[in-house]
Amino acid sequence: MLGLNNKDFRFLLIVIALTMATPILLQPFPEGSVMAQFNAGYPDLMQRFAIFGIFAIGFNILFGLTGYLSFGHAAFLGAGSYSAVWMFKLLSMNVIPGIILAIIVSGLFALLIGYISLRRSGIYFSILTLAFAQMSFNLAYSVLTPITNGETGLQVTLNDPRILGQQVAANGNVPPTNLFGLEMGSSFKLPVGAWEFTFNAGYYFCAVIAILAFYLSLRIFRSPFGLMLRAIKTNQTRLNYTGLNSRPYTLAAFVISGMYAGLAGALLASMDPLAGAERMQWTASGEVVLMTILGGVGTMMGPVLGAGFIKYFENIFSKINENVLHQWFSWLPDGLENIVIWVAEHFVGSGWHLTSGLLFMLVVIFLPGGLVEGGQRIAAMFKRKKADDDSDDAGHHPKQSPHVAE
């Protein structure tokens, strides 16, 4: 089906089902309960799951398949956001032109940067991409101010021409971003008993695009092109002596992943029509690297898991403050409570970055395969137990190669 084998197709169906049901699945706790703060079914958070999922899926096509570690992908995210906001200013608040332009612009930008950076590999490549991204960031802050609006960031205003759409909405504000009239911000709330589920147009729009992006990357992973990319990662010498030119392959991967980043940037702007240079900073590039390795480099599902994990905990950890901590640990004896809170304080609120940095290190040190590998290890543990139980089935399976994992 859809050019996928049965297993992949089932996998895709599961992903679609999960994505569609996200507003329900992420709202497991009743409103007003103590646990409600762990709910994640809010439109803007769910949108970020989908958008950063796309970003990470794209990054994984480059890093996961070819092993080329780019530290400059935030530049494409930023370029995508700027392009989309410009379309909102010039054409209309419909998100489609913005997204199309963003993909084109980031693709061209990636072609330029990739063409130069890919002349080197290894750590030189990482440093070159980092240098390019920092350069773009600096330029966005200084000379390119007419395009980027510098430190303030690019915003839509009432004076923008918007030649194809409304300049000013009926209520006198800037019109909202929409998809042929369907406002991205509009939501349908469904109360079920003590629960309340929010179905947001913006989220579903991002979700559909994310599914498309996922499907596309699934096809790439299974294609001869994907095979070549994996071959580049494992042995470039052999590839060259087998008659294949690795550079156009890596460049194509770089451009594709740049376009994914641009798409993610455009979606960010579509949900909230502004763009700032900080989206291009190395910290943003670092974040997508973290998402990808946390989930599992080179696996299909890993980057999506990683993106969701990071964005969810960013949200939760940022919300926790001293009062919340006191509530949680009030059952401890006073002295101990203070110590625990003193330690915990480092990691919550604005300390989230510390937590993510630590997470980064822990994953690289202990779980280079990320969450997916962790899951597989746990699954294997259970399987082994089972195998031990029915003892006559002592496994004589030949060692299978780890195919691109699910």
């Binding site: 092993g67 570690l69 130069i116 002349r119 080197r120 590999s121 290894g122 750590i123 030189y124 990482s126 440093i127 070159l128 980092l130 240098a131 390019f132 920092q134 350069m135 600096n138 330029l139 802050y141 200084s142 000379v143 390119l144 190395w282 670092g286 690297v289 973290l290 390795i293 480092h346 604005s350 300390g351 970055h353 510390l354 993510s356 940095g357 630590l358 997470l359 980064f360 290190m361 690289v364 040190i365 280079p368």
Partner: protein, 343 residues
């Protein structure tokens, strides 16, 4: 002519910082084969050593002076640093005034310790891992260190003054026969440059004239052979890492008066220092120093007004631009040797 001289001088202090960080990066890379993205964080920790010492020395107790009142009419409170009450007001004040140079002594054991812990606790386990893993784990460490500093010292830059004796500027122009006030250069920057020159000289002398340095240089040229000689490389690696950390830390300590320390200064300098290393030639110590000064001066030239008028924004990107051109035209960098990081 005077303008050119001024820009060269202006570039020296930043160039010194680049050179010192790049030197440490190269030492670590050349001997341990590790790409250390946390090296900028060491520079930052050095700067915050200066901040910390200044704060420690300025710790004060309050006394009430009944003869004076503050603007609300209450008796005025006077803060007296402990150190002034212990050693007398004059000596105490002088020590506080000289806290940045004193921080050199304060920071060396701290930096050596930080370097030791980092190498033994983390880096050691990554000698055999791919460079991408090394980059990632040290990148994570850099974030952790910078966020910890942010947690305790806040997000704002902390002004940390040089001793009064070095405030003000020296008029170079007069010495060289130009009109006064054409080429003025802050005293502290001269100190910084001299300090950097001494450190660089010391590192080179250490490598050149000691047995330890000889082994290290041999190791940089060919790691495997030295390993085969049965020389205990591991211990030397740890020491080398400690030295590199100390060099970065000292660069940071002395830089505090030039640029008020903030938590993200490490990353700002790291990216540029890596560019410096690459331009100088991965694994080449003289290359790192040369490229550091060269790029510092180039950056300073690019920020001249008439150049900015012709090429707007060039001051922001000149270093990256040069790096990109050099990497493409001369992949090994200015002084890189064959066989070092050839992929």
């Amino acid at each position: 002519m005077d303008a050119i001289l001024l820009q060269i001088l202006n570039g020296l202090d930043k160039g010194s910082a680049y050179a010192l960080i790049a030197l440490g990066l190269t030492l670590i890379f050349g001997t341990l084969g590790v790409v250390n993205f946390a090296h900028g964080a060491l520079f930052m920790i050095g700067a915050f050593c200066a901040v910390t010492l200044q704060r420690l020395l300025s710790l004060s107790f309050e006394t009430v002076d009944p003869t004076k009142t503050d603007f609300l009419g209450n008796p005025a409170k006077i803060k007296t640093p402990y150190i002034e009450s212990w050693l007398g007001p004059e000596t105490g004040a002088a020590i506080i005034d000289w806290s940045v140079p004193l921080a050199i002594l304060f920071s060396i054991p701290i930096m050596l310790f930080v370097g030791y812990v980092m190498e033994r606790g983390l880096i050691k386990h990554f000698y055999k891992r791919p460079h991408a893993d090394q980059i990632l784990v040290t990148f994570g460490l850099a974030i952790v260190l910078q966020e910890l500093v942010k947690h305790y010292y806040g997000a704002n830059p902390i002004p940390t003054g040089a001793p009064d004796a070095f405030k003000g500027s020296f008029d170079f122009g007069v010495v060289l026969g130009f009109d006064p006030n054409l080429i003025i250069y802050p005293y502290w920057r001269m100190v910084y440059f001299a300090f950097a020159a001494v450190i660089i000289g010391a590192v080179f002398a250490f490598l050149q004239f000691t047995t330890f340095g000889m082994v290290v240089r041999a190791g940089m040229a060919d790691r495997e052979t030295v390993g085969l000689l049965g020389i205990n490389i591991d211990k030397r690696f740890t020491i080398m890492f400690g030295i590199a950390a100390a060099v970065a830390g000292l660069a940071g300590v002395m830089y505090a008066p030039i640029n008020s320390p903030n938590y993200h200064m490490g990353m700002d300098f790291l990216v540029l220092s890596f560019v410096v290393v690459v331009v100088g030639g991965m694994g080449s110590l003289p290359g790192a120093v040369l490229a550091g000064f060269m790029l510092g001066i180039l950056e300073s030239f690019a920020s001249m007004n008439w150049i900015k008028d012709i090429l707007p924004g060039i001051d922001q990107i000149i270093i990256y631009l040069v790096a990109i051109i050099i990497l493409l035209a001369r992949p090994r960098g200015l002084m890189g040797r064959k066989g070092v990081m050839e992929d």
